[in-house]
């Protein structure tokens, strides 16, 4: 019994011809798709990274992308995959343009340490992947905290490695890369001095955090993190905070046991907002940190703002 629905094999297509007909619910959808597709395709294409001149370098986040820019200057053209504070690198879905950028790149700078594994997955999909620098491996902190862009000496080491790598790719400009890296290192060293000042003035002071993102900076500043580790672990794992842990975290503020709350504004939820509200209610300053650069400023200025805010908060 050969059934009829041969025509239904083409089901999705004939709807195109139903525009304006009486029974047009699906027709409207098809009409919209039919309109939008050629319209959008006709619009000016997105800029293709790497074609504006300069060595094409890909960075997983705009933090590392900015550091590559500091070292490479106008000799590099950087594409950063993640530049929006609303995207979590731990769970990012790449697109085909990302993959093309990777294929064209002469150098890739990733964070590593499990932070942006999608870069490694994507590189594995390429036949002959470009060389990769993993900041976490260069930092070699001996800890399993992957947020190494808050570890200032590690950032200097990464900048130096970028300069060396760029120098082997483009030997003619090796001296420029080294000089740029040296300038950048100088600026970061200045930041480190300011962090050392915090340590001298307020070393041993206690602070609270929502996540382990700023831990390296707190270590450099000699600040004690009193947040129960179970709290930050639950926030990072996106599970629920045990009630007793939430209570003891909130008590840090009401009892004024901490001088500041260091708050990751990249991933917020009801539980971190409760902590932020408790800090504000107790008059404890909130220092924000994040995982991507705010628009319009570079790495050094970004760190400068955070360090200044931290300084003011803990030396009140």
């Amino acid at each position: 019994m050969p059934p009829r629905p041969v025509s239904t094999a083409h089901a999705p297509r004939p709807t195109r011809f139903r525009i304006g007909r009486r029974r047009g619910r699906v027709g409207v959808v098809a009409a919209l798709v039919g309109l939008v597709v050629p319209l959008a395709a006709a619009c000016s294409p997105a800029p293709t990274p790497g074609e504006t001149g300069g060595l094409a370098v890909v960075a997983s986040t705009n933090v590392w992308g900015n550091i590559v820019n500091q070292v490479g200057g106008s000799l590099v053209s950087v594409t950063s995959f993640i530049d929006s504070p609303s995207a979590d690198p731990h769970s990012y879905e790449a697109n085909a343009r990302n993959q093309l950028a990777l294929k064209k790149a002469v150098l890739v700078v990733a964070n590593g340490g499990g932070y942006d594994d999608f870069v490694d997955t994507m590189l594995a999909g390429l036949g002959s992947p470009p060389p990769v620098l993993h900041a976490f491996a260069i930092a070699n902190t001996g800890k399993d905290n992957e947020h190494v862009w808050y570890d200032l000496p590690a950032v200097r080491a990464v900048a130096d490695q970028i300069a060396i790598k760029l120098g082997t790719i483009d030997p003619g400009n090796a001296a420029t890369f080294t000089a740029n890296a040296k300038t950048f290192d100088g600026q970061v060293t200045d930041l480190e001095r300011q962090v050392a000042d915090i340590k001298q003035l307020a070393g041993g002071s206690a602070v609270a955090v929502t996540e382990s993102v700023p831990q390296y900076l707190l270590d450099l500043a000699g600040l004690k993190n009193l947040t129960p580790p179970e709290f930050s672990a639950a926030i990072e794992n996106e599970t629920d905070v045990p009630p007793a842990v939430l209570a003891s975290t909130l008590a840090l503020f009401s009892s004024h046991s901490v001088r500041a709350l260091v708050y990751n504004e990249q991933t917020t939820g009801p539980q971190t907002q409760a902590v932020q509200a408790a800090a504000k209610a107790a008059g404890i300053p909130v220092v924000t940190v994040s995982e991507t650069l705010p628009a319009g400023i570079g790495y050094v200025e970004w760190m400068q703002r955070t360090i200044t805010a931290l300084h003011e908060a803990v030396t009140r």
């Binding site: 089901a11 959008a40 530049d83 932070y115 594995a124």
Partner: protein, 300 residues
């Protein structure tokens, strides 16, 4: 700094065919993975519909993460843990819920328990867990040769297994009481099917991600059953719909600077809407409901 297409209006980011020729060779493996997953999804989906197991697909893919969490605590490989988690979940559902009216409640009972164990394992794990799961979710845009090979092997096993049990499984799915009365081993078949389903889901999640698994395992077969009841045409149409969604989605998404999955999910959803509408129209205009063609084919 050249940020990737953030200063372009969002509607221009959705469809963009510039440098298409350069992009196409990059996704060769993605297309192969899409073809394989659509084949598996279309065929498995037919039984997922007949046995009312859509919820199980979701449960099995969720529980792979619980398996990964447990693996982290027991310090075994996280990827292996995810596969074991999926298989254990699928087998438990198959073992406990061989009768249709039990199945959804069994999944509803098992899933929160399994996810709860996953949360517990994460809480007990002494190190930082957030940076250990990055490799579990696949990137459809970048599938390496090893994953394509694994995908092909799983496809052979699942499709071969399904063809082997196709007729008795159809009988047991459409009319379990009569099938059992005629000596069809319904419990063993339920178990075998769930094992194949678990295998397909576990592998696919790691190559393309959980969202696309749902979109290719459930939606195409659901669309096909809207417009046909034929034992031949439902699987054929389901595979065609799944292939159109997967390949069409990848090709359409190629130039855009947004992820591929929304294109695949949207195409399969539009196909489903069209099929719903066609099915309703046929019913209104005197679709002659044949006596269940599926059961007839098996018995006859």
């Amino acid at each position: 700094m050249l940020a990737l297409a953030t200063d372009v209006p969002w509607w221009q980011r959705i469809v963009d065919f510039s440098s298409y020729g350069e992009l196409l060779p990059l996704v060769r493996n993605s297309l192969i993975a899409g073809v394989l997953l659509a084949l598996v999804g279309g065929l498995v989906g037919v039984f997922v519909m007949q046995r009312d197991l859509a919820f199980a697909v979701h449960g099995v893919s969720e529980l792979s993460f619980a398996g990964a969490s447990a693996a982290l605590l027991l310090s075994i490989d996280v990827t292996l843990g995810a596969i074991i988690g999926s298989l254990v979940a699928a087998m438990a559902i198959g073992f406990l819920g061989s009768r249709a009216r039990d199945r959804n409640s069994i999944i509803g009972v098992l899933m929160p328990f399994g996810l709860g164990l996953g949360v517990l394992a994460l809480a007990l794990y002494p190190g930082r867990a957030a940076n250990k799961f990055g490799l579990l979710t696949g990137q459809i845009v970048a599938v390496d040769d090893a994953r394509v090979g694994a995908m092909a092997a799983i496809t052979v096993v699942v499709v071969g297994g399904l063809l082997f049990v196709w007729r008795p499984l159809t009988f047991a799915s459409v009319d379990p009481e009569v099938a059992a009365a005629r000596g069809v081993p319904t419990r063993a078949l339920s178990f075998a099917f769930m094992l194949l389903l678990g295998l397909a889901v576990a592998m696919a999640v790691q190559v393309v991600g959980a969202l696309l698994v749902l979109s290719l395992l459930i939606t195409p077969a659901a669309a096909a059953t809207r417009i046909s009841a034929s034992p031949v045409w439902v699987p054929v149409l389901a595979v065609i719909f799944a292939e159109v969604s997967a390949i069409g989605g990848i090709l359409l998404a190629l130039g855009a600077s947004v992820p591929i999955s929304p294109y695949i999910t949207t195409i399969s959803f539009v196909i489903y809407l069209v099929c719903r509408w066609l099915g309703r129209r046929r019913r209104q205009h005197g679709w002659v409901r044949r006596p269940s063609a599926v059961a007839g084919a098996v018995v006859g």
